[in-house]
Symmetry: D2
Subunit: 436 residues, 4 copies
């Protein structure tokens, strides 16, 4: 399966693209075509894609139905850019969102089309929480990631990224420990409750908590359903809003459309981006309970609010995958395969318990002792034709974020490669399957 | 030319779209197709588009060459989303940008593909300015607009939009007066020089100034070339960086590719968005001098950095319109028409000098005494089939932001409608042409 | 012992003094003379003073030796105000401080005379910690109190006081749990260690922690010596400075001169105020390790840095009480009496464990179920001629802060009154002694 | 008049006092006694004091009446420290303040005794302005100085002092140009009016402006009465409060009790400190219009609110100097002498207009081309037995802040020394008088 020697990328990138570029450093080839779970470089080499746009391609690359609809839309000279004016594409998307997502879940959100980045959806949600409560503090959780713009960065925990702000004060937030942060058996919602109950805790009564039900960049930490329910209870007790950041864990990644569904909680605000267009096109939105929908017209504006191409593909995605629960069931089934295979790998490779599992649904990973080893594993995998990345504060988690539409065969194929890669790094013979 | 009665937009918008929606309130129809300078609603009514995505459609709607290239790209299952990995589409865009934009202007910037919103490009530029200087203050100008995320909002002047932040402190900036802010003959760069020279001015030595050469949302205020040169001199004298925010005024809107070209200055950082894709697709970038290109990999990251569809259309735009100076010349010629027609309107309609002109190139407008009257004019224009909007602190400026590719015939047609609309509001008989 | 009806205070106070006045509301009489532990109102009524200037009168009112020295100083037309110029009074104070405090404890601090408020000493210490580390975050502990100016208020936990800032963002700090905050057996220094070790904890590496070894306003919570040593270890491990705020707990209140002595730790910066003058005169200082003594001349300035009258009385206090350990021993002995009497009261009055003890040395109190009951107790005490106050987030702790020089007889006399007062509120017969 | 060689100060200062000490560096002797305008070092050398505690000794050193009252008070074991409880000393001070200051001027302020530093009075005033308006921005003026705690430092303009904060963001303020900042004939209140009127000026509607009628540390810049009246008009027009910082310019320094009296304006809040005790004892207060007196009890608290010794001397000062207008008249007369003598010196010494005058009343100075020359002048003066200091952003202003009670003879004696000192630095023969 190893690819032939690929040509070095054109030196225009070294010459002209900013040093901030990152993924291209791990996968230094020039990519061209892509379909489903497979991506091709310009030399014709094929790679199995277990990164999938970091959660932006939950339905795989170039889904044929979305592709057809998009070509048809463009070919008909339909509106590409219309600011936030009404278009047929937006109407269709909103109707599909109402019909397939909101109504079946008995949710009654308004949809705010923010600038097409997750950070923008987060900034809008935090503004609304502050405006509607008259409070300023947002509680975020240890290891959380919510974006790079200054508002979102203030609730993002990674010190290296925070240092990028160049010394301006990031504030108006308070950190609370995520589920499991202090180890098994420690109910960290009690800490939050104490923080809110004590008039001298040092934390002003917050506007909202912002929570990722499954932390992506923070290292695939999944909150338990029970913890989320307790969190909701604590928030309701103190009149604090809940913002669910469903940017990476949403759009089916957890097995349900929203990652918070399993717990049965009902956030006041929800942020979405990544896979909302279904096709990898930039789009983001913030779901808002009606009573919090208090922005004045254009009070949070921007040029690319609402991307008509994304509305077209997004509407196809909603109808194709969410009109009944069959897709959700298949994702959960694949999530179980993932868990079983990972358990096998941990059993095979761990020494003195130095490997562990993290995550939920199709967002799971193996925790290595350090980022160095995890990096070696992903480099070995790439050598073997698998694109896979790490996350976590020390990049110590090798994470699977493959397309939810992946076939079981491809899923196992990729996991075989991963297993071989770990073996190459840690020692141990290749798995039977991978050796075929 | 008045359109027939259009059907009311579907009530899904009222039911589901957030109250923050804005342009759709001025133009309450459902749009469908669009080509060049014309946009059609679902009932088949045609409108001349003098808003053009607020500067995002400088080359008009659905340019046929871009459209063909995009359909071809999508049809070939080429990569839509690849995070910031290398793709052929990105390579082609970078090469075109180097060949048609940077080299002919003897500019040596690195290109940072930020999240696809202007605000994100601004946030990245401000971070780099702070990181590289070790200073925190950014000087922005009165009436400036740079975006809605907290970092960008801090340097945005509109009080209503600032209030959207819900009370968090917006800071780390200092306001300086824009060209002409204190009237004719007052050189406001002297104020800035004083502010920087006086060790007790109250303003800490800033990292950078951020300037729009032509302020868009601030009301089409254009800085003179001389003022910009003086500004550059003051900044160089004090070791302060210059960030040119070319998001609305760039991509040819001023007549040159960059709005700062006329003045011959060389900013340290440049932000672009809106028309960079040429097709209205979300994309933004920050141009960075090599010595300021100091982000570590992924230190400012995001999912949609680099939009391959936008690279495809953007590369077409660069080759089609910027391989020589013919397009630039035609834009400047149309800018003159605009100026002449506006001068005529002011002469015809002004009472005691209560109307005035603002702007430069294809970014000009008429200043009305208040926002109420300006709104009446744009409403009259819409009745007559012209989409046109206002800007300014009080929405008092009726601005023309039509496609740069507009025919002189359509340009005059739209200006005739505008003239009639002013006449309808202010009194006076319709112009000869418009009456035809 | 009950005082006769006292005259109502003059209505000038109601007419002219700001609504912010507070203690006078609990003790609405006009006070006149005072000596040692006794204070007299204008009508000649005597009160035993268990508040003692909230820790500012550790040596009692009008100590005769200090009084004589001060009258002598003033009578000789010695300098009262000399900015921060050298005076003989300052020289004598510094020499006494070096001889009686620093040398015997093998401490090598520089002395910074800040503006004469504890808040100013705290602001100076935080500036130095930030300047010397190049970091901005200060870790403060739940329930901490460090002052009312914006820098100090940011590390003060009480929400009501924070609200006084009128909505400006209080930041550049992170909250850590104080000793015992999460109950017995939970080592909260581990939480801090985790917060500092995890590069994605959400807390940037701090400049310093600021800690009150015994929290005053926070409700007489005393950190154990072991906890303080662990705290020091965690700070040293991560290169984080330690600021000991010894404003209320210092100058002998704990039994030692510094409240941190018992633990054997060595803070990098120490703040003092309240009893440093020994006579209740305004004075504050910040002790600074030599390598942190990096302010440029006047970089933190102010008019009243160094109060010569306070130097005079302060030098007497140092020589009189700290030239050997006899005073320290007597304070510790009285602290034991306090503890025993409080234990007796808790045993007598607690129902289902609803009363508890807090504090250390001569800074101890009884925790009542709520502030309302605690207030009733102090009101009853005042009726009986005892001035005593509450502290804590809900004002639920009745605290003894009597002069350290109090006689055992007076100490017991006051405690008898307190016991009677509790009995009056909770039921139960008066103590034998108090009934005498 | 030159003093004999003075002994070097004890090395305890070098060994133990923080590097932040400043005035002692300019006057490196150890001072002992002081009376009126004269101060003696320990060797018996006499100096004429033209610094006078930087405005804290408006009535000279050790005024005999205050001294007697204070000794009497202390001797009688009257209360030195009583937190903010009612005492006879406070009552007497308030009555005197009402009778001699408020009533004759028809002012109806409440008196808030803040912590005894000017910075604390400023912090309290800014909190009240924010709390009462619900706005956060405070407008301060170029070159202003209001204190070193973070709230006050944010409205202090000196970059070196701001740098002392160690990088934390100083904000929630906006800078406006002081009277004359842009030269003669430029009415800077129009700039403020524009800043407030323009909804897109970049400055949010402020809570208040804070203004020193005569800037002390900023270099003795005096606002004209007309400018202050215009400032008041602009503030009233926009509903913005006025805080007059009368800390250095108040208590008679301008010739009137309050520096704003001449202009006839009525600030909403006034801060006082420095000479309020009359004796150089630490004390500060904030005067508050009744409707702004909205702090809850203890919402802005502190240990040394109200200094009983200062009440005693302060009450004497009010009765002795302010019961009629004779003192005010004498101060104004001496201010004229000062002006005349300075005009003479400028005429004598200026080359090409390189010297100028600044200030008003008994707060005037000569502006030198740079701080280096000004420092030489004050060093020469000290050699000749005159204590005098500089101020201004570059320490370029040699300022006279002598006691207001100085005899005309001593005033001229000091000015003679100053003139000789300038001659020594600039060349030119000594004045006739000084040569005597």
């Amino acid at each position: 399966m190893t690819n032939e020697m690929t040509a070095k990328p054109d030196d225009i990138f070294e010459r002209r693209e900013s040093s901030v570029r990152s993924y291209c450093r791990s996968f230094p080839v020039t990519f061209a075509k892509a379909e489903g779970s497979w991506i091709h470089d310009r030399e014709g080499n094929k790679y199995l894609d277990f990164l999938a746009g970091c959660g932006s391609l939950n339905y795989g690359h170039n889904d044929p139905d979305m592709k057809a609809a998009l070509i048809d839309y463009i070919g008909g000279s339909n509106i590409a850019h219309g600011l936030d004016m009404y278009t047929g594409a937006k109407e269709a998307f909103l109707k599909a969102f109402e019909q397939y997502i909101l109504k079946p879940r008995d949710l009654d959100y308004r949809v705010m089309f923010t600038g097409p980045t997750g950070a923008n959806a987060v900034e809008a949600a935090m503004k609304l929480a502050r405006l509607s409560t008259g409070r300023k503090t947002i509680v975020n959780f240890s290891n959380s990631f919510h974006g790079m713009t200054l508002g979102a960065l203030a609730v993002t925990c990674n010190r290296g990224k925070r240092a990028g702000a160049g010394g301006v004060t990031l504030g108006n937030n308070a950190i609370a420990p995520f589920d499991g942060y202090y180890g098994e058996g420690v109910d960290t919602t009690e800490f939050l409750d104490r923080m809110l109950s004590d008039p001298s805790s040092g934390v002003d009564m917050p506007a909202a908590v912002i929570v990722e039900c499954i932390q992506g960049e923070g290292g695939l930490r999944a909150a338990s359903a029970e913890w989320l329910r307790k969190l909701e209870k604590v928030c309701r007790k103190h009149g604090v809003l809940i913002i669910a950041d469903d940017i990476q864990a949403g759009c089916g990644r957890s097995g349900d459309y929203f990652a918070f569904e399993e717990a049965g909680i009902e956030p006041d605000l929800v942020t979405q981006a990544k896979s909302i267009s279904g096709f990898g096109l930039p789009m983001a939105l913030t779901l808002v309970k009606a009573e919090l929908d208090i922005f004045k017209p254009a009070q949070h504006n921007g040029t690319f609010r609402g991307n008509n191409h994304a509305f077209v593909t997004g509407a196809v995605a909603l109808e194709k995958f969410w009109k009944d629960d069959s897709f959700s069931k298949s994702v959960k089934a694949k999530g179980k395969i993932l868990r079983q295979r990972f358990e096998g790998m941990v059993e095979r490779f761990a020494r003195d318990g130095d490997l562990s599992l993290r995550g939920r649904g199709m967002m799971q990973g193996i925790v290595f002792p350090d980022g160095e080893e995890a990096d070696k594993v992903t480099a070995e995998a790439f050598e073997r034709g698998l694109i896979i990345e790490t996350s976590g504060g020390n990049d110590e988690v090798v994470k699977v974020l493959c397309a939810l539409t992946i076939s079981e065969e491809d899923l196992n194929r990729g996991l075989d490669i991963l297993e071989d890669s770990i073996a190459a790094v840690r020692g141990g013979k290749a798995s039977a399957k991978a050796a075929e």
